[in-house]
Amino acid sequence: VILGSLSVPDQPAPDLRPPRHRVSARAVRYWAVRASAGWAVLGIAQAAWLVLASGGGSWHVIALVATVVLAAAHVTVMPRWRYAVHRWETAPGAVYTQSGWFDQERRIAPVARIQTVDTERGPLEQLFGLANVTVTTASAAGALEIKGLDREVADRLVDELTAATQADAEDAT
């Protein structure tokens, strides 16, 4: 059976579907707030520049308007797009995540190869009741991250995966 599966199958296998679960809906607002904070710094710096260097004239205004337009587009589009993409799923044998927005990524790791499962939440994320889960494997390039989960969901996920990983205690490299 193993050798048979090596040859390219005659009929195409069904497509990979997206993972089943979305992240927390609160993540949309969190991402929007975080992005706005970044843009605000830039905007304030430009406004200060406009006021202080009064001789600058139209170029300063154009730059500030461009920044505001870009910021508005980013803050409205990015969080929704990201929420539509960010998904995750666990199966008995594997963990499956999908992330990104403009560039997107799907990662699949066999449970047998999982080394550690961590949760992590920053101060702003705590305010929104969110948590990130990171699943690492022995590969430095192989970590799966699920960002913007409900805190309870994250805790349950960690417990579940930790239990599943302890079941097989191989070298995992």
Binding site: P9, D103, I108, G142
Partner: protein, 510 residues
């Protein structure tokens, strides 16, 4: 009692051992050399008071004392479970590495050590590359014979069970090793194509210019430069440039060849029946790396553009505990730059199967090709546009954007070659992926070594129906990519490489 004798039947308390006493001749010299800048500073600082010589003598004495102290304060022992090294007088440290964590052993010797029959032994663990100080243990200054014993003891008499793949019927008898490859002097001809001498020439050039500047020397007053100037002065500019370029190329070639000989002279690749590969090499400084085969996750065949043009290639091991690259701590070289056919044969021997090396690769098709061209040409378009803008604004002369136009055919050629390089295959044992033009790499990653799959699709890749499939692994570069492969083909590759992994996540969410 050597470590050899200690390992099989360990006494309850293994005694601590010192480095070879001959190291007393090496460490002080090393310390003096290391302290040289400070010593020079002392002489200069002290010369005002007329006591520079005395201060320098005190400095040398201190350096020698430090070197001697290093021998007295360094001890090591190999217990049944661990390798332990104790260091330091005031700030003592004990580093212990669990023996079942030992993944590679590297034995090297610089010329001074070689004269005295000493070596430096580095024990690598999987974490060696990650931490700032590394997770391994280094013993600088063992007797060469002790080191061999220690290496065999650490890799072959494991506390739990033998390495798989070992021939159990003949465990520790005269271990007949098989030679897989050995350097042929003719391979030196490949050295100039490695361009490894570019850095050396650059460094020497920089040094010479600096020195001339410091000494207020005008190079035009030097005889040889003067005569060269006379000869070329009468010739047309183009000829002068060509001659100068040829001279630099010749210098690079000579330096590359010298560097190649220094690094790879005496190269030998052997297989030990207990399941290890040994790579020995080096002309003045020697280096012997031991890689456990059960840590081996594949082989990478690398061809820089020039070397590829000359029909050459080199091979690196993909092994856990060994990072990619060729730095001091990274002993991945399996085969130095040499004939591609021999490199391929060595790769097949190491993998114990020829299929990953010989299997025809599936090309990535026209959409991947178009993507290579758009990416390369948009890069050169930016350059040309910038140059043209500069010309219009009157900042730069017209020649700038005319010269910038040259990047267009270059980019196109690069794109065409990159597209030609793309290819992948799955064999019963390995995932094979090839990419790159300036450096073409063919990674042959063991299917068992794949510990995760990443499918990455950028905005433009999604529109083209392509994705980049990355197999993650605990070895080498940690991730090996199949670039710009069609979506359905990527899934077929996953299914073949890691059967069953994706099955649960297919079809309608039912």
């Amino acid at each position: 009692v050597t470590a050899e004798g200690a390992a099989p039947a360990p006494p309850p308390e293994t005694p601590w051992r010192r480095l070879s006493a001959r190291m007393l001749l090496v460490h002080p010299v090393q310390e003096v050399v290391r302290a040289m800048p400070a010593l020079v500073g002392l002489v200069v600082a002290g010369s005002g008071s007329g006591q520079g010589g005395r201060w320098a003598l005190i400095g040398v004495a201190l350096a020698i004392a430090a070197g001697t102290l290093r021998w007295f304060t360094t001890r090591y022992r190999v217990t049944p479970e661990q390798v332990q090294v104790r260091r330091g007088l005031l700030r003592r440290s004990l580093r212990a590495v669990s023996r079942d964590r030992v993944r590679t052993i590297d034995v090297s010797a610089n010329p001074l050590q070689r004269v005295l029959g000493l070596v430096r032994l580095t024990v690598g663990t999987g974490l060696a590359e990650r931490g700032p100080r590394g997770g391994g243990v280094r013993l600088d200054g063992l007797d060469a014979r002790d080191a061999t014993g220690l290496r065999d003891a650490l890799l072959h008499d494991r506390p739990r069970g033998a390495a798989p793949g070992a021939d159990q019927t003949a465990p520790e008898e005269v271990a007949a090793e098989t030679e897989l490859a050995r350097l042929r002097p003719a391979w030196l001809a490949y050295a100039p194509f490695t361009l490894s001498g570019v850095l050396t020439v650059g460094a020497i050039g920089g040094f010479l210019i600096n020195t001339a500047d410091d000494l207020h020397l005008d190079p035009r007053h030097l005889g040889i430069v003067h005569r060269a100037g006379d000869v070329l002065g009468g010739a047309p500019l183009v000829l002068a440039i060509v001659v100068a370029l040829l001279a630099v190329a010749l210098l690079v070639a000579v330096c590359s060849t010298a560097g190649y000989a220094l690094a790879f002279w005496g190269y030998r690749l052997t297989r030990h029946p207990s399941g290890t590969l040994h790579v020995t090499r080096g002309l003045l400084s020697t280096r012997a790396t031991t890689i456990e085969e059960r840590r081996l996750r594949g082989v990478e065949l690398t061809q820089p553009l020039l070397l590829r043009g000359a029909g050459g290639a080199r091979c690196d091991a993909i092994a856990t505990g060994l990072g990619a690259g060729r730095g001091a701590e990274r002993g991945t070289t399996l085969f130095p730059p040499g004939p591609r056919a021999v490199a391929a044969r060595v790769a097949a021997d190491v993998l114990r199967t020829t299929e990953p090396v010989t299997v025809p690769l599936t090309p990535h098709g026209p959409r991947a090709r178009v993507r290579r061209f758009t990416r390369a040409l948009s890069g050169s378009a930016v350059i040309v546009a910038a140059a043209a803008a500069g010309a219009i604004a009157g900042i730069w002369p017209d020649t700038v954007w005319e010269v910038a136009l040259v990047t267009v055919p270059l980019a196109a050629a690069l794109a065409a070659d990159r597209a030609r390089s793309l290819g992948h295959a799955v064999t019963p044992t390995a995932l094979v992926a090839r990419a790159g033009s300036l450096v073409r790499r063919r990674a042959m990653l063991s299917r068992e070594g794949i510990i995760g799959i990443t499918l990455r699709r950028s905005f433009f890749q999604r529109r083209a129906g392509l994705c980049t499939l990355t197999a993650t692994t605990a070895a080498g570069r940690q991730a090996y990519a199949v670039l710009d492969v069609a979506d359905d083909e990527a899934l077929r590759v996953c299914d073949a490489a890691v059967p069953g992994l994706l099955d649960v996540f297919r079809g309608e969410s039912g």
